[in-house]
Symmetry: C2
Subunit: 406 residues, 2 copies
């Protein structure tokens, strides 16, 4: 059994690196705090008999031997956060994995297969776009070159940061070089379903599709006091109509649309009509076909809005990343289902993307969700109770052991 008190305490301890005064976290991938928590995490895994490997994307694999040789049953998640993130998203999964390793070590319990805790690099996609980057390279979804060359807003690359922190591992980042027997991920739900249903835990059967775009509108800056309303080439007017239209279309198609970044390339000034607008659009859907329809409808709508807005054009529309809907492995999901038996629970398709999306392409994968308060995530007020965290840790251990016995 896991030590719930220790799991909770260690989770909070690990948040000393990158915590913010408002009780949240700002631990962007591969910044100094992320490097500190990673070094600490490696040491803690080594203390319980793990061999630690770091790959060329900085993904950390801490493996505890089992009775047999071969690929480990992995428990993975991430330690990076949003700039305005909470203390549970990703962090819970990594700390629960550590607790499972500690519990096995203390009990002297030897699994059939080796067990692994994995820290995937840059899951959030907040510092380096796109999200789930470390696991995407491992899975062959993105090339190593693509992964290492991503840059943050200051132009610093993943590779430079890996080198600076000595996290540029010699092992290839590849599911062939570092195969996994299975991948289990415990995560907070990040949405309101469990909280509304008053269920502490969920069996995650899959993950919905998502696509990210960077869109640029080119207008023409001019003087706020002298340019008549009907002669303006104002990209902001078009942008506002597009944002409202995306909201409406998402509702109409039963999906989601979010604009999380908006700004302009040209400098802004109070008495200047904006010259351009650049924004990111994130659309999601449970159904791949409906996703196609939603994207098509958004494209038609945005084109129409640009068309009718004097002097404003859709200058570029770049796909930043895309992930199809995923269904997890029936056997692995069954292990989670059985491990949850004692608790009020339900089945959920994840709204958020996770590293498990990538691992599912190469090994049996399943996820466990626990409830979070008001369904809020990517915000400092993100919160899960100690009791729910204890449930999640127990279910993770149980699911892994069940898989180990199959």
């Amino acid at each position: 059994a896991i030590n719930a008190q220790r799991l909770n305490d260690t989770l909070q301890l690990s948040c000393q690196w990158g915590s913010t005064p408002d009780g949240g976290m700002n631990r962007l991938a591969l910044n100094d705090d992320d490097a500190r928590v990673r070094r600490w995490y490696i040491e803690e895994c080594q203390k319980v008999g793990c061999q630690v490997t770091v790959d060329a994307m900085g993904n950390i694999f801490a493996v505890r031997p089992g009775k047999n040789q071969g690929p480990p049953i992995a428990m993975g998640s991430h330690l990076d956060t949003q700039p305005t993130g909470g203390r549970y998203d990703g962090i819970l999964g990594c700390l629960a994995a550590l607790e499972v390793l500690r519990a096995c070590h203390e009990a002297g319990y030897l699994t059939n297969h080796p067990l692994a805790a994995i820290v995937w690099t840059n899951e959030e996609g907040a510092r380096f776009i796109p999200s789930m980057l470390g696991s995407a390279v491992w899975a062959g979804v993105k090339s190593l070159e693509f992964g290492q060359s991503r840059v943050d807003e200051g132009g610093v690359s993943v590779r430079e940061e890996l080198e600076r922190h000595s996290f540029l591992g010699v092992r290839a980042s590849s599911h062939q070089e570092i195969p996994l027997k299975a991948h289990f991920e415990l995560h907070i739900e990040q949405g309101p379903i469990l909280d509304t249903a008053a269920h502490p835990v969920a069996v995650v059967t899959g993950v919905q599709a998502f696509r990210w775009f960077e869109i640029k509108l080119q207008g023409r800056g001019s003087h706020a006091g002298t340019t008549p309303m009907h002669l303006r080439h104002n990209p902001l007017t078009a942008f506002c109509e597009m944002a409202l239209s995306a909201d409406q279309l998402a509702i109409q198609f039963g999906g989601l649309a979010t604009i999380g970044r908006v700004g302009s390339l040209a400098a802004q000034s109070t008495n200047c009509i904006l010259d351009d607008i650049v924004f990111h659009l994130d659309i999601r859907h449970h159904d791949d076909d409906k996703m196609d329809q939603l994207e098509a409808a958004v494209r038609v709508s945005f084109a129409q809005i640009a068309e009718k807005t004097l002097g404003v054009r859709l200058a570029s529309w770049e796909a930043l990343t895309a992930s199809k809907g995923v269904q997890f492995d029936p056997l692995a999901v069954d292990c989670v289902r059985n491990a949850c038996k004692a608790y009020p629970k339900q089945e959920i398709i994840s709204g958020a993307g996770h590293d498990s999306v990538n691992t599912s392409k190469h090994c049996p994968t399943a996820m466990i969700f626990i409830r979070c308060k008001d369904g809020i995530s990517h915000h400092p007020s993100e919160y899960s109770t100690r009791e729910d965290i204890a449930v999640g840790g127990s279910v993770l251990l149980d699911a892994v052991c069940r898989y180990d016995s199959t």
Copy 2:
């Protein structure tokens, strides 16, 4: 008579400091390039017999003696630009003033009153908010303390920059300490009226009212993939409706509304619903009463939009600056009118604010506009022909001489 060739050449020469590859200017108030062009300008004025005084706001007064003692007839404008500015806005007025001084010097022509060229500090309001700051302190519209304590986005104050460049003059910045007999300002129109009418020049009879506000919308950030559309507290949705409503109300009331700055205090991330939006609203009207009505209507509309948007509130609404409509001095305007006689011309109320708004509170003031291409300003493509610049310079000289003879 002025030397039109020299005026045009010197204007272009002065743009060596702060020019951008796209042919525009980025010479924010009191940055290194602004300091360079100011030092050069002072030297050029001294070469034609001017005494130069700098006041505590860094306003430059270059005075050429006349037959009589007493306050000078001034020709003022500004050398600072927008970050995405052109080569004429403000610059033309200062360089034409220099050309008038040069022409008088060469001809050995002594006016009755002393003549002055003035460079007002931070007219644009792009680096330090609000606009027309140097002339506002001189006019007593803003206090010296207010003026010197304005900070740019990096937190650097006007006073620090004045000290750094040795432009913190010992003379009080005050219309009482440095009185003016009159103030004439030559400027590009910055709007489309003259270009549409095919008139090279305009008699400016006044300046419309304007008000600037900083408005903050507080929502609640959360996850783009897990937060259902109907549960979002999305400040962007409210912002977009507000921006479109401001456009509509400006049209309805016959005024202008512009949002030139928009961003958020919290960090942005592609997969996070925005937590807050902060933006600047600039509204203008020719009629002070209609301006009140426009502001009132915008306030009602924004309050209604915030009210109906789940979890989003109008967290703050700060007035950054306000300027009432101004009518210039009949006698000074008449001097301009007569000086324009030879040219196809018209009378205009300025859409943009100018330092002349502030001088008009303490001395007879008038302005001359010349045509600019397509009415575009605050943009690198801002342009006036050499011929129109020659007309503007001649009219300035003529108007000043006429006033000098009254």
